[in-house]
C-alpha cells in the first residue's frame, strides 16, 4: 500500500490566521491606547491654554 501524504492545509490556514490575527490584535490595542492618550493630551493642553 502506498503512503498518502495527508491533505490538511486548512489547519495550516487556521494557524496562520490565528497567529497573525493575535499579533494584529496586539498591535491594534497598542495603537488604540496610543490614540486615546493622544486625545487626552490634546484636551488637557486645550484646557490649560484657556
Amino acid at each position: 500500500m502506498d503512503f498518502v501524504t495527508p491533505s490538511n492545509g486548512e489547519y495550516l490556514a487556521l494557524a496562520v490566521v490565528v497567529s497573525f490575527g493575535a499579533l494584529l490584535l496586539f498591535v491594534g490595542s497598542v495603537f488604540a491606547r496610543y490614540r486615546n492618550a493622544q486625545r487626552d493630551m490634546d484636551v488637557i493642553e486645550q484646557m490649560a491654554e484657556e
Binding site: F3, T5, P6, S7, N8, G9, Y11, L12, L14, A15, V16, V18, S19, F20, A22, L23, F26, V27, V30, R33, Y34, A37, Q38, D40, M41, I44, E45, M47, A48, E49
Partner: protein, 252 residues
C-alpha cells in the same frame, strides 16, 4: 496659570528623540519585511513533510513564537532587576512591555500547538507535562498583569511587579527543561535529540526546512519581539506623560 511649556515633551520633540523615532520606524519596516518573508518561506520555500503534510509548516511559527516569548520574558527579568536597583521607571516599562508582548507570543505558541495537534495527535489538547507547563507559563504572566492592576500606588506597583516578573521566569525555564527530564512526554524535541521514545510527530528536516526554521527563529526572536517591545515602551511613555500632564494641570 499653567503654561503648555510646563508639560513634558513628547518623545519626538526631545533632543535626540527624533533620531530615535526614525530608527524605530526603520527597524519596524525591516521587521515587517522579514516577518512577511518568513511566512512566505514557511508556506512556499520549505519542503513539504511527507508524513505530516502541509500542517507541519505551522511548526516554524510555533517554535519561533516560543523563543520570542522567552526573549520577552527575559527582558522582564532584566527590567525587574534593574528597576529594583535603580528605581528608574523606564526599567519597569521594559518589564511590563516584555510581559505583554511575551503573553501574546505565548498565546500564539499555545494556539498553533493546538491547531497542529488536532490533525497529528487527533486532539486539540492533551494533559501532557509540557503542554500543561506551557499553559501555566501563559497564565503566570496573566497573573502578573492582574497583580499589577490590583495595586493603586504606582511606586508599589512597580516594585511588586518587578519581583513577580523575576519569580515568574521559573515557569518559563521549567517549560524549557521539562522535555529533557520527562521521558514520557509525547511532545517531540526538535532541537537536539528527543529523549522520548514515545514522541509523536517528530520529523527529519531537509536543508530547506532547516534554513526556514533558522531564519524564522532569528526574525521572531531578534526583530519581531524587540520591535513590539519598543512600541509598547513608547506607549507606556506616552501614558506616563498624560498622567504627568493631568497632575500638573490639576495642581495649578
Amino acid at each position: 496659570m499653567t503654561a503648555v511649556k510646563d508639560f513634558p515633551l513628547s518623545a519626538e520633540k526631545t533632543k535626540d528623540g527624533g533620531g530615535r523615532t526614525r530608527l524605530l520606524y526603520g527597524f519596524t519596516g525591516i521587521t515587517l519585511a522579514l516577518v512577511v518573508l518568513c511566512l512566505g518561506m514557511a508556506l512556499f520555500y520549505a519542503g513539504q513533510d511527507i508524513t505530516q503534510g502541509d500542517v507541519q509548516r505551522i511548526f516554524y511559527t510555533h517554535i519561533s513564537s516560543f523563543f520570542g516569548a522567552f526573549i520577552a520574558f527575559s527582558a522582564t527579568v532584566v527590567g525587574g532587576i534593574q528597576y529594583l536597583r535603580t528605581r528608574h521607571p523606564k526599567w519597569d516599562s521594559l518589564a511590563l512591555a516584555g510581559v505583554e508582548v511575551g503573553t501574546v507570543l505565548a498565546f500564539i505558541n499555545l494556539a498553533t500547538g493546538a491547531i497542529w495537534a488536532r490533525p497529528i495527535w487527533n486532539t486539540w489538547w492533551t494533559w501532557d507535562p509540557r503542554l500543561t507547563s506551557a499553559a501555566v507559563m501563559f497564565l503566570t504572566y496573566v497573573a502578573y498583569l492582574m497583580l499589577r492592576n490590583g495595586i493603586d500606588s504606582p511606586e508599589r506597583r512597580r516594585v511588586f511587579a518587578s519581583i513577580y516578573g523575576v519569580l515568574a521566569i521559573a515557569t518559563v525555564i521549567f517549560t524549557l527543561i521539562i522535555i529533557r527530564i520527562r521521558p514520557d512526554t509525547i511532545h517531540p524535541a526538535v532541537i537536539g535529540s528527543s529523549p522520548s521514545t514515545g514522541a509523536e510527530g517528530g520529523f527529519e528536516m531537509s536543508s530547506s526546512m532547516v534554513t526556514t526554521l533558522l531564519f524564522t527563529l532569528l526574525t521572531w526572536s531578534f526583530f519581531l519581539t524587540p520591535a513590539l517591545i519598543w512600541w509598547r515602551i513608547r506607549l507606556e511613555n506616552t501614558l506616563e506623560r498624560v498622567n504627568k500632564m493631568k497632575q500638573i494641570y490639576l495642581e495649578r
